[in-house]
């Protein structure tokens, strides 16, 4: 895999089918439907539980807006990921082009996915810092690899954004 800047886009070239599949999973991973832990993390309370009125109003007015904001980001990413529909040669390496105008949406979607996965699997600090763990093994190991791979992409996007400033 190779990541480079091409005019107003970030190109991820030579994406092998495994990594391409992990990228395809970003939108679903970002919006887990069956994980209360992920839901709790993505929509955390704005104050201590004693602030009952604020917390209740937050749930009523702010959470739906945040949900829309997050969904809009994942939709942008989902559209960009259409490029990975390699129908003619399913096992060939492919290229993904991320327009820099979509960088914020990608950062958000990758972050949503990382936070949701980490909350679902309750990864420890030690696990999250272990970048050499093999992805081959349990579903948990694969999810940890997913968190780290998405984090690596976030770093690449952030570096390119800083280069723009």
């Amino acid at each position: 895999m190779e990541i480079c800047r091409q005019n107003e886009a970030l190109e991820i070239r030579e994406l092998d089918p495994f990594l391409a599949e992990l990228l395809r999973q970003i939108p679903e991973s970002a919006q887990p439907k069956d994980s209360p832990a992920a839901e709790e993390r993505l929509f955390s309370p704005p104050a201590a539980p004693e602030e009952k009125v604020l917390c209740a109003e937050w749930k009523l007015y702010v959470v739906p807006e945040l949900r829309r904001l997050f969904q809009s980001a994942t939709e942008t990413v989902r559209e960009d990921l259409q490029q990975l529909r390699c129908t003619d040669k399913p096992f060939a390496n492919c290229t993904l082009r991320i327009p820099m105008a979509h960088a914020d949406a990608w950062l958000s979607a990758l972050n949503q996915a990382r936070l949701a996965i980490a909350a679902t699997y309750q990864f420890s600090d030690h696990e999250l810092c272990d970048h050499y763990r093999s992805p081959l093994g349990s579903r948990r190991d694969l999810s940890l690899f997913q968190v780290n791979f998405y984090g690596f992409l976030q770093e690449c996007i952030l570096r390119e954004m800083e280069g723009n400033d």
Binding site: S44, L54, V62, N111, E162
Partner: protein, 122 residues
């Protein structure tokens, strides 16, 4: 989100009406019982509040720094100082002031998926 702040604004205005000695038109006698309940809220609003960001092992340090720069307009050095404080001490106070603005900051921080809360000072 606009609805949230409009609602708060209405409540605050109602609370202000309740403590003002001058009776103005929108504060009719019918509204008074509800307004009475809001007086404490008005006092709370005048108290300074902290915007606190809490540690999160998943969010990248570079991402957190960028978010602090964007939301608070801090220079990179100051944003990094706060980020490191969060990382090492588990939390950092990013801003202090009026409650409504503090709530707005927390809302923006949640939009970037940081763990943020507002806390009463004192």
């Amino acid at each position: 989100m606009l609805t949230f702040f409009m609602n708060r604004l209405r409540r605050n205005r109602a609370a202000q009406c309740a403590v003002l000695p001058v009776i103005d038109a929108p504060c009719s006698a019918l509204e008074m019982p509800a307004i009475e309940k809001q007086e404490a809220t008005s006092e709370e609003i005048e108290m300074p509040w902290n915007v606190v960001v809490h540690n999160d092992p998943v969010n990248l340090m570079s991402y957190v720094t960028m978010v602090f720069q964007r939301i608070f307009g801090y220079p990179r050095e100051r944003a990094e100082k706060h980020m490191l404080e969060v990382h090492h001490n588990g939390r950092s106070i990013l801003w202090s002031g009026m409650r409504e603005r503090a709530e707005l900051y927390v809302q923006q921080l949640h939009g970037y998926l940081l763990l943020a809360t507002i806390e009463k000072i004192g």
